[in-house]
């Protein structure tokens, strides 16, 4: 059954793979329940994985004692999430374009680019330790 309600929550999870997986499952279920299609959920999944992996690896430096704050707002029209780690942040504008010829064969540096490619909005706070992402539902709302 498709839900026409919204869900808005703020949670703090452990900086661990298991915690990320459990949270992601809940978020995908919430999006699917609001009739986001497979392409939208794939895009949200990819962006969430990249952002949360960045938070665990780069922000929290693999310290499982640290936490990640995740605030999400899912409506029948859009999926919005903010992810904050305990790191010192980074300058997203300083990340080189991985598609540039000189970067094409580099082994890293594609995560942020994929987040920007698959989400409609990707913004960082001034510190660079909080990313806010929005994905609008691609398909028109069901008129029936």
């Amino acid at each position: 059954m498709v839900s026409d309600s919204s869900v808005h929550k703020s949670v703090v999870i452990k900086s661990s793979r298991a915690a990320v997986e459990a949270l992601c499952s809940q978020l995908f279920e919430a999006a699917a329940g609001r009739d986001f299609d497979g392409d939208d959920i794939f895009a949200i999944h990819l962006a969430l994985e990249e952002a949360l992996l960045n938070a665990i690896c780069h922000g929290n430096k693999q310290d499982s004692g640290k936490t990640i704050k995740v605030e999400y707002f899912i409506t029948p029209a859009k999926f919005e999430v903010s992810i904050t780690d305990e790191g010192t942040g980074f300058d997203p504008d300083a990340v080189p374009d991985p598609r540039a010829e000189e970067n094409l064969r580099k082994c890293s540096g594609r995560g942020l680019f994929l987040m920007r490619s698959y989400m409609d909005t990707v913004e960082y706070n001034k510190t660079g330790n909080c990313v806010h992402m929005v994905k609008h539902k691609s398909k028109a709302p069901n008129a029936s």
Binding site: L53, R105, C107, S108, F113, L114, S117
Partner: protein
């Protein structure tokens, strides 16, 4: 010691080593590391390997896997071999396309095409 989970199946063609990725989802560093631990010895033990990696089972991956593929590719070409990718589903191929890695890797529709491009007639 943690048990290393198998991440690949390997078969040997006339002139080709075919690696099928067995996982549907390859996500975090530990999973990519496990895949790397399975793939790299194949490349390092055979000079000039003609390696085909079949993505037919893979439904989701992250940028960490792309990084591993670049590392594998460098090793393969340094040893005089070739690397072909195949069986990439449309959603995953889109990741290769928008990152322009479809220009870096030799990508084929399926295992047959990939092996035929490597095996001499």
């Amino acid at each position: 010691m943690d048990k290393v989970q198998p991440k690949i199946a390997v078969e040997y063609g006339k002139n080709t080593t075919i690696v099928t990725l067995t996982e549907e989802r390859i996500l975090d560093e530990s999973e990519v590391q496990a895949l790397s631990d399975s793939l790299m010895p194949l490349v390092e033990e055979a000079d000039g390997i003609n390696l085909v990696i079949d993505f037919g089972n893979v439904k989701f991956l992250t940028s960490a896997v792309l990084g591993l593929l670049i590392r594998v590719s460098k090793k393969v070409y340094e040893s005089g071999g070739q690397l072909k990718l195949c069986g990439i589903n449309p959603k995953i191929f889109e990741i290769f396309r928008i990152t322009r890695l479809d220009r870096v890797f030799d990508i084929y529709d399926d295992k047959l095409q990939a092996t035929q491009s490597t095996d001499p007639a």
